[in-house]
Symmetry: C2
Subunit: 383 residues, 2 copies
């Protein structure tokens, strides 16, 4: 279903030959309207890939008619030629679809610092355009995979309108926003400013709270396109909720498929003085390599949680901190709590609760354990 | 040599039975004077172990007659009982040496959140006191090891006076200051304020620039004791240089023995607008798990260096960044530079140079690669 679950959209995914192994590597998503509203959020990494710079620019109109995405190369740190390649890609899409290049967003993912093989990519665009279909969502989702073992899609349908989407991402997964590439579509009749607000509200509490490995990508892109084809005009709250549900579902799928991970870790920070404090503490816990190793070893090592909390600027008193792992309060008042042998860590999902005892705000950050498989996968990635 | 290289100091290292495996686990260092000046720097982690809180307090006088250190337990996150245990340890040292408890610093290292076995530790203090010797420095250095494979000592002798020291530390190694436990001694005749300044000047550019795994300990302690026994009164610059050399040497030994590491990585940031920028960028590179995996795989993946730089607030323009790995400028002006196949990464030491092209300041941060052995060692640490 993916990006074609909503009415008014077609998509395709093809093998253009960008990837040496012949796997699908080029996706096209087209909004047939009647509306062509769009919004996007992008990596806050200051080293931005050429397609990010391009897409930020074209989105200033609040309209998009198409998105072209490739895996097999990030087109990041590729200099002026990289930007020309992105421009040429958009021009090619514009040519085959008889639209303007300024109506085409571009997204790329793969290795940084390698120019794209344009002699393969441009013919791939022609091929994808020929295969555009209202049933092409799955193929598009498959074509944007890199080290992903699964393709990721999500759909929410309610009251005659739909929000659907696809995502890729398995490593370099610490959005600021965001992680990876995501295209969301809706057939609700929503204007660009509303799309923008709904998308920012949603990503702030979903993709922005995924932190698999602390490494922020140069290519993170999340786009939301509205066709208006359902004719429905949902209330903002309903629309935002649907977008947030799809983003949350895709975020969860990203964590579940993170490189080499054996555990999905839900870090919940409660009783913080502010939401910012809760996020800062959650992120510090999520990025603590020693803790991530301990969780991999099914060791409820709460001392590493406390040492991570201690490096933050959040409001708390060390002797009032409480920590639960999978519901067992192994740390009470900054010291030894319930018996750590009571903690059952056999399952993939592990829940860490950090109680700052400093207020009433909370936040959830999702992360993964740190494993030898992660090391192996990322030691050999570009060789 | 270690802490007994300087005249006026005795030391001992014994097996008190704190460690289940019977290895040495308790060290004692005593300053026989005539001077008893001392200074210390401690972890900036807000969750501080009981011995850190104690030692910070007793150091306010600027004098110490003894330091007692134990491995086999950090006495961190152990509540009021933990502080009482530290106090009782200092009282025991005071009793056997016939001095005041307020003249005794305490340092502990090992697992967080486990009470110390005082029934073993206190007799260990008596045993260590009986073995105090002017040749006890090596044994003391051995007794403070945890996962260290080697004990770490360093000595600089010049113009009739000496600075020597010992260190332990192999994991949770991201000082803010500092890493781990370090005791430095000197027989130079230096007062406490001067010791304090020399120690802070030294640690700022040595221990504070070691970042093996991004995880800051609750127990980091660096002490510097002066006996004045040489009668020498060196100029500040000479004394500070000697302290910095010893700290630099010990820092380098810590990196060389970091848990599971196969590479020591020297991250040098040059042409930064400020030293703070250089340190921020160096630390961001040093903490990038994906890059650390790539270095482990001997992959000169400069894209991961750029993506790490891009997450900082330092002054730079993305298209002016240059990166060299082992002297080969694989990234020029934010894009592809010299052939990455020219980079020889067979040796343990790897040098990454990041040129921000934004000024004339620089800094060096030392880190390690991320390996499956690190994961294995830290998945099983407390079980």
């Amino acid at each position: 279903m993916s990006v074609t679950a909503a009415k008014g959209f077609t998509a395709a995914g093809v093998a253009a030959g960008i990837k040496a192994n012949g796997n699908p590597d080029l996706a096209l998503v087209v909004n047939a309207g009647p509306r062509r509203a769009a919004a996007g959020v992008f990596t806050s990494n200051r080293v931005k890939a050429a397609p990010v710079l391009w897409s930020e620019q074209v989105l200033k109109t609040g309209e998009l008619r198409a998105v072209v995405l490739n895996s097999g190369g990030a087109n990041a740190c590729t200099g002026p030629q990289g930007f020309q390649d992105t421009h040429a890609t958009a021009e090619k899409v514009a040519e085959v679809l008889e639209i303007g290049a300024g109506e085409v967003a571009v997204a790329s993912t793969g290795l940084i610092g390698v120019p794209l093989p344009m002699d393969k990519l441009l013919p791939g665009v022609e091929k994808a355009a020929k295969e555009l279909s209202e049933h092409g969502g799955e193929k598009a989702a498959i074509a944007i995979k890199t080290t992903d073992t699964l393709h990721k899609t999500s759909v929410v349908t309610t009251d005659g309108w739909t929000v659907g989407g696809m995502a890729k991402g398995a490593g370099m997964l610490a959005p600021g926003l965001a992680t990876m590439l995501v295209v969301l579509t809706t057939d609700a009749d929503v204007d660009a400013p509303t799309l923008d607000k709904a998308l920012r509200d949603a990503t702030r509490v979903t993709f922005d709270r995924v932190d698999s490995d602390g490494c922020m990508s140069t290519n993170d892109t999340v786009l939301l396109l509205a066709s208006g084809a359902s004719g429905a005009t949902p209330a903002y709250a309903d629309f935002a909720e649907a977008v947030t549900r799809v983003c949350g579902d895709l975020s969860r799928q990203l964590i579940g498929d993170a490189e080499g991970a054996s555990k999905d870790i839900r870090v919940e920070v409660v009783n913080a003085a502010s939401e910012e404090d809760a996020v800062e503490v959650g992120r510090s816990i999520a990025r603590n390599n020693l803790l991530k190793c301990a969780i991999h070893g099914e060791d409820p090592n709460w001392g590493r949680v406390l040492s991570a909390i201690g490096t933050t600027n959040a409001a708390f008193e060390p002797d009032r901190l409480n920590v639960a792992i999978n519901g067992v309060w192994v740390c009470r008042n900054g010291s030894v709590g319930e018996d750590r042998d009571l903690v059952d860590m056999r399952y993939r999902e592990v829940k860490i609760t950090a109680d700052l005892a400093a207020g009433s705000e909370s936040a959830v950050i999702w992360t993964n354990d740190l494993t030898a498989d992660y090391v192996h996968e990322n030691s050999a990635y570009s060789s």
